[in-house]
């Protein structure tokens, strides 16, 4: 069964070169001419056709700015497609930019609840989960402190522990495999592996080719907003890491 179906999806950003426009300038300019020259068009995704079925583990590789994270955000429903069709059957759990979005004046405990509610928990269900989350984060008495005093690493620990305390249907992950210090990374990797094993479908973006080849059975290679290769993970990684190989023509 197909869980994710993208049909000829394109995404165009309109980026302002000089930040936001002032309302009074806009109104004045509207009287005389359209303030067009301020706007730059970025074709972030073009002609994406992608089906992900039940049980598939898909890795996405590509250089910076190729559109990998944009594609993930589109899959997660945060960016709407400009053209084409996006269809998703199932609940999406997404892990990206997780270390952002804490209420800095609230304690770690409170932030676990806030983030839990956003992920669809209720006060009743969070009560059962909050202890395992706290234990996994190993933050101990720091959880009684407002998170504004946390270090970056502590923030990531907390965020990772909350974000991965879900029963995922469709799991979308952006470069999360390196979380915290060495000891925590071992734990984090174990948890990711078990999450991935339980999810009905998984999509991972990473620059860590070893992780992709371990976790995924299929991979796509993205370049300048397009999918330039789609196939078994090892083949795609091989093609991506050896650009001088026979696949160079396809990538260009």
């Amino acid at each position: 069964m197909t869980l994710i179906d993208l049909e000829n999806v394109g995404l165009v950003f309109h980026v302002r070169r000089h930040g936001r426009v002032a309302l009074k300038e806009y109104l004045l300019a509207g009287l005389f001419r359209r303030p067009r020259e301020n706007i730059m068009e970025v074709r972030a995704l073009e002609g994406i056709n992608l089906q992900v079925g039940e049980g598939e583990r898909l890795g996405i590789v590509g250089s910076n700015g190729a559109g990998k994270s944009t594609l993930l955000k589109l899959l997660a429903g945060i960016y709407p497609p400009t053209t084409g069709r996006r269809e998703v059957r199932g609940r999406i759990s997404s892990l990206f930019e997780i270390s952002l979005g804490f209420e800095s004046d609230a304690t770690g405990w409170e932030n676990i609840a806030f983030r839990g509610y956003l992920q669809g928990e209720t006060p009743r269900s969070i009560r059962e989960k909050i202890k395992p989350i706290a234990e996994f984060s190993e933050l101990g008495k720091f959880l009684d402190m407002p998170v504004r005093y946390y270090s970056a690493g502590m923030m990531i620990r907390l965020a990772f522990s909350i974000a991965t305390a879900v029963e995922p249907e469709i799991l979308i992950v952006d470069e999360i495999l390196a979380a915290g210090d060495a000891a925590f990374q071992v734990k984090a990797r174990q948890r990711m592996t078990s999450l991935i094993a339980r999810a009905r479908a998984v999509i991972v973006v990473s620059h860590d080719m070893k992780a992709i080849s371990q976790l995924c059975d299929r991979a796509i290679w993205m370049d300048r907003g397009r999918i330039c290769r789609d196939g078994p993970a090892d083949e795609v990684i091989e093609a991506y890491t050896n650009p001088s190989g026979p696949t160079k023509r396809q990538a260009a």
């Binding site: 950003f13 009074k24 945060i78 997404s94 209420e103 409170e110 806030f114 509610y117 956003l118 992920q119």
Partner: protein, 260 residues
């Protein structure tokens, strides 16, 4: 529309927890904290009463609760408009992670301001009871629809301000100027009857803020229910921004994340 509101409702634990967190932050230190944040309208009232009672020989016993009630409602309008401007930027991290309906962030601002409004009105009520007795108890039920309308008005306004501010950088600045002008155009410092006597009733009829003030003041200060015209004007004043907010969200909500 209904589906949208039900998605907002599904996330109620989230925004309600954030509202409570905002309030706790604001009222930290319990009684003193709460008194501190209510001090601003009270201090304004004291200063203005001193001035007006000396110069214009206003009657302190009627003018003080009149002024305090006006400033309290005005504080709500100011809060939803200025904090509404910032609501999407300050929630950027949530918006970038989760496809939740954007209206929950203006709602957070509005509910915080509403709770503050209710606390302020309790102070006004106590003052009115001290000065005029408990006559108004039987009509206080009339405040409920007024508060409901203010909530809808505030939420819609905060949505509109938030969206416009994401698109145009000078919104906050223009809002401050607009609020200052509106403050003097609205019968906060002076009674609405002053305008009616000078045949400027049409002017009041165009200002829904005047209707909101009347809905709050008449039950508390004069122990009578407001006329239906005031409810109608306030209702229209709440529905118009609600319609604009719904239109803005339906047109641009999904794409707003690109401009953050």
């Amino acid at each position: 529309m209904q589906g949208y509101l039900s998605r907002v409702w599904t996330l109620r634990y989230f925004w309600w927890a954030l509202v409570r967190n905002d309030l706790r932050k604001r009222y930290r230190g319990s009684a003193i904290g709460m008194g501190w944040s209510l001090l601003q309208p009270i201090a304004m009232t004291v200063v203005l009463c001193t001035v007006f009672c000396q110069i214009f020989h206003a009657d302190l016993k009627t003018y003080a609760p009149f002024l305090l009630s006006g400033l309290t409602v005005w504080g709500f309008i100011t809060a939803v408009m200025t904090q509404g401007c910032q609501c999407f930027f300050s929630s950027e991290a949530y918006i970038r992670q989760h496809p939740a309906p954007l209206a929950i962030y203006p709602l957070r601002v509005t509910l915080g301001a509403s709770i503050h409004l209710v606390l302020g009105l309790l102070v006004v009520l106590s003052l009115a009871w001290c000065l005029h007795g408990l006559d108004n108890l039987r009509v206080l039920i009339g405040l409920l629809p007024a508060l409901m309308l203010l909530l809808i008005f505030g939420w819609s306004l905060a949505i509109c301000m938030g969206v416009v501010n994401v698109l145009f950088q000078d919104t906050t600045h223009l809002t401050e100027i607009l609020l200052q002008i509106l403050f003097y155009l609205t019968p906060i410092l002076y009674p609405a009857d002053l305008l009616r006597q000078r045949h400027l009733a049409w002017f009041l009829g165009m200002n829904p803020l005047a209707a909101f003030l009347e809905l709050v003041r008449l039950p508390i200060l004069e122990a009578r229910l407001p006329p239906w015209q005031a409810f109608a004007l306030a209702g229209a004043g709440a529905l118009l921004p609600a319609a604009v907010a719904a239109l803005l969200l339906s047109r641009i909500e999904r794409r707003l994340v690109f401009y953050l």
